[in-house]
Symmetry: C2
Subunit: 133 residues, 2 copies
Amino acid sequence: VTFQLDTRLGGDTFDATDWALCRVLLMNDARFPWVVLVPRRPGLVEWHDLDALDRGQLAAEIARASAGLKMIASAAKINVGALGNIVPQLHVHIVARTSDDAAWPGPVWGSGPSVPYEPTARDTLLARLRAEL
Amino acid sequence: VTFQLDTRLGGDTFDATDWALCRVLLMNDARFPWVVLVPRRPGLVEWHDLDALDRGQLAAEIARASAGLKMIASAAKINVGALGNIVPQLHVHIVARTSDDAAWPGPVWGSGPSVPYEPTARDTLLARLRAEL
């Protein structure tokens, strides 16, 4: 069995890059600078499904995405979440928040319809993620 | 500078136990079996504020809480989240979710007023958390 990205996750995101463990995706929602990390292992659902090595690597890649996105987005706070109530494949949201964003101080999940990126803005942000995360 | 639990976090929770890195708290909301892990280090706000050793230990303690709470609560899914938009002190929510709970499939954060535990139910759950997590 090999890793395959969930089709719904794939449809909601753009591919940024691959790190040692995770696929790095940009969520197609211009309201929030929002990256999704997906460990490229088949069959993972819960955090505790990761083995100890991958767990440590995921923690390191969350830190990398969190620090980079905070800088790129001049964010007040980074939100980290692994929910999976709708898409069971294990994935970790890293979301840059500011006190004037569309959902502050609430969570971004369930905060109303996403706003798709305009292609130029998307490509600019993807280039920055690839260079600076 | 020594670790001190944020007063708002302390007021919303009950003390379960201390692990190697984290204080383990039970959220006072009977709608959801809900544990909060707080690394006992002063000054942490973001995930990337953790040093590499503590990051790995936090990842291990999240896995321990996630697996234990899933079993104790017969949960369909565990949600993991570190938001901090309201309480900046780094803390990680571990929440047991079922498809008939008060917020499914949305997030628990911002899902309406909490329902305080009745003391007997609270003490029973705290005893199980101490014995089985």
